[in-house]
């Protein structure tokens, strides 16, 4: 791997929707300033936002680590929440374990993980029940993947 040009770390607070999305918003700004194509900026920031929101809702908060080099952005969102018992099921659109209080805010459509997959070039998820979940998202700047 080539040396990262920009590295950022963020703390994702649990159940705090006043700050939720700030990390992905900040990353979006950095990518835009770097002159990355709008399609790539949108895909990377949407995938990261979904992972960030999942950490807020399900993961008791967590951390975001971002590395940007000349070819790609690599995002790691990790939490120490309950983990995902059935990842294959969770990847299906419409499947959600979000409580009613979260649904009332408009989340819980069961599309978070599938949105990440749709927008990322590479999505890897490590999860273990009672240990937590780590999501790895890679988006290449020269990727022609459309959304």
């Amino acid at each position: 791997m080539k040396k990262a040009v920009i590295v950022r770390d963020y703390t994702i607070p649990a159940n705090d929707f006043t700050i939720a999305g700030e990390a992905s918003s900040n990353v979006r700004k950095i990518l835009t300033q770097l002159g990355v194509s709008p399609n790539v900026v949108k895909r990377a920031s949407i995938a990261m936002y979904e992972a960030e929101i999942n950490a807020v809702i399900h993961g008791k908060g967590g951390n975001a680590h971002v590395e940007i080099d000349e070819n790609k952005i690599y995002i790691v969102i990790s939490d120490e929440g309950p983990g995902i018992a059935d990842l294959e099921l969770a990847m299906q659109e419409g499947y959600s374990t979000a409580p009613d209080s979260i649904r009332e805010m408009g989340f819980g459509a069961g599309m978070g993980l599938s949105n990440m997959k749709k927008h990322a070039d590479i999505l890897d998820i490590d999860t273990e029940v009672n240990r937590g979940t780590t999501v790895h998202i890679t988006v290449y700047f020269n990727s022609d993947k459309k959304i």
Partner: protein, 114 residues
């Protein structure tokens, strides 16, 4: 057609004036209250119609590059949402009519403008 022109044509009130309403072009309309669904489907330049007025709407509108958010039926928008929207440059409009009517009107106006 810009957001400003749309607001004047349809009588929708601009709630957050970010200075961009005369420049931001409208290309379509999308209505949905499920945020992840909206996130996946809103195209850059769409007017996004939703009844939600919480902070997360600002994040979704910003990330998807919606031209503006239209809140139907004069639903009151939370103060902290307005503040965040102004900070993030997201234009909110308030419409007196239903979400369905907003979609119909925006599409009609876009069709006329072609």
């Amino acid at each position: 057609m810009t957001v400003k022109e749309l607001s004047e044509k349809l009588g929708y009130k601009i709630i957050t004036e970010t200075g961009d309403s005369t420049k931001t072009e409208i290309t379509g309309v999308y209505a949905c209250d499920l945020l992840s669904h909206a996130m996946a489907k809103i195209n850059t330049g769409d007017v996004w119609v939703t009844v939600h007025t919480n902070l997360n709407v600002v994040a979704v509108a910003s990330l998807t590059e919606a031209s503006c958010v239209v809140i139907p039926e004069n639903i009151q928008i939370e103060e902290q949402t307005i503040e965040r929207a102004e900070k993030k440059g997201v234009i909110f409009l308030s419409a007196p009519v239903s979400a369905a009517r907003v979609c119909y009107d925006v599409l009609s106006v876009l069709r006329e403008a072609k």
